[in-house]
Symmetry: C2
Subunit: 225 residues, 2 copies
């Protein structure tokens, strides 16, 4: 086997250009792309190495060569998918916003990320629900998100703009809306459900989520007496 032991096929120092996307990605990147697509929609166990390598247009052995195993490819995909979320949270921390503005910024940022990366909530939910325990990148992301959100909420409670209540559960409820509302409408829009008379969403989930979460967390404004 022509492979150094370090882990992965050495750094591609020789002249690879920044890689336009579409066709001319190198094999490892095409495998990551195939992993995003297939793992997210069919799950880890529902995705075979053969399906991945076919989707990536490469050979059966490519996963073992470029990554160590199917498991390792999966973890790499997960890390790539979750990275932008933590970046978004870093931005959130450094901004001089009020509590409601922070919450709205968080929700809209999450929606934007999930719109651009529809695989994310699928991975997230799979990891929460399946297997002994979620993979490390999921746990770490969850830890960061909940910590930041809980902090924002406690801050708001101290100032009196957020209701009394368990900050941790409030954080979970806020997080639930982008995840849940980026998954469900697609399902409910199915042809047969529409024909069965199911009412369809008429407004943007994003705007609804902001109203719903702020309504659920903020102390209601009093009418001037």
């Amino acid at each position: 086997m022509a492979k150094e032991q370090g882990g992965g096929p050495s750094d591609p120092t020789p002249g690879h250009p920044p890689e336009e996307n579409g066709e001319s990605l190198d094999t490892a990147d095409r495998l990551l792309q195939a992993g995003r697509k297939l793992f997210s929609t069919k799950g880890f166990d529902g995705t075979s190495v053969r399906a991945l390598t076919t989707e990536a247009g490469t050979n059966l052995g490519a996963i073992t060569y470029h990554f160590e195993s199917k498991d390792d490819l999966y973890i790499r995909v997960l890390e790539e998918v979750l990275e932008p979320i933590r970046e978004h949270l870093e931005m959130l921390k450094g901004m001089p916003f009020s509590t409601p503005q922070r919450l709205e910024f968080f929700i809209r940022g999450m929606f934007q990320h999930l719109r651009e990366n529809p695989e994310t909530p699928r991975f997230f939910v799979q990891e929460i629900v399946l297997g002994e325990e979620p993979a490390p990148p999921i746990l770490e992301t969850l830890r960061v998100v909940v910590t930041v959100l809980t902090g924002i909420i406690q801050e708001g409670q101290a100032v009196g703009v957020i209701r009394d209540g368990d900050p941790m559960l409030m954080a979970l409820s806020a997080l639930s809306q982008p995840i849940y509302l980026s998954l469900m409408p697609r399902v409910l829009a199915r042809e047969d459900l529409r024909r069965a008379g199911l009412p369809q969403p008429r407004s943007a989930p994003e705007d609804h989520a902001v109203d719903f979460v702020l309504g659920g967390l903020l102390v209601p404004e009093e009418e001037s007496p």
Copy 2:
């Protein structure tokens, strides 16, 4: 093969007592029970026929005999798990409650069901996220739940106790809380996350969910001028 073509091993008219649970369930029921446990925690693809029959303490061929196939067993499990939800909704329809009372009744009823049947939300999100399309029992349950909830919300909007907004998205948000909040706290209570300083929930998710959903949907009460 000693099996009639109709589908399933004829009705057990001969003297089966109502079946205490625990040990003395017959093979088909033990397989359904094993399916609940394994399918819900490992997914369809992650659960082998051998794992199921071993868990049920029976022979490898038992699934093909008592059900037609692994797929058929899965659908049967799904139907059994979802049935009580529709029953709960039937009760909800017939009750002379106000809109907020209806919403609270729905949320608490869902929490109770999910507490007694922790597999339900796992099946639900697996079906939403994995595969081409959710299985028929899921779609039908979803249709009923969303239809009923949307009706309640529209009714409340007509009377003026519920805010303006898309009734369908409001229904989804209400449904999201029992599902999401019956899954997440278990994950966040993990030992390593607690050691990493993650704040832990201090109150009942059920009570929080009622406050959060009602806060997000109801028109805020005005202070008397």
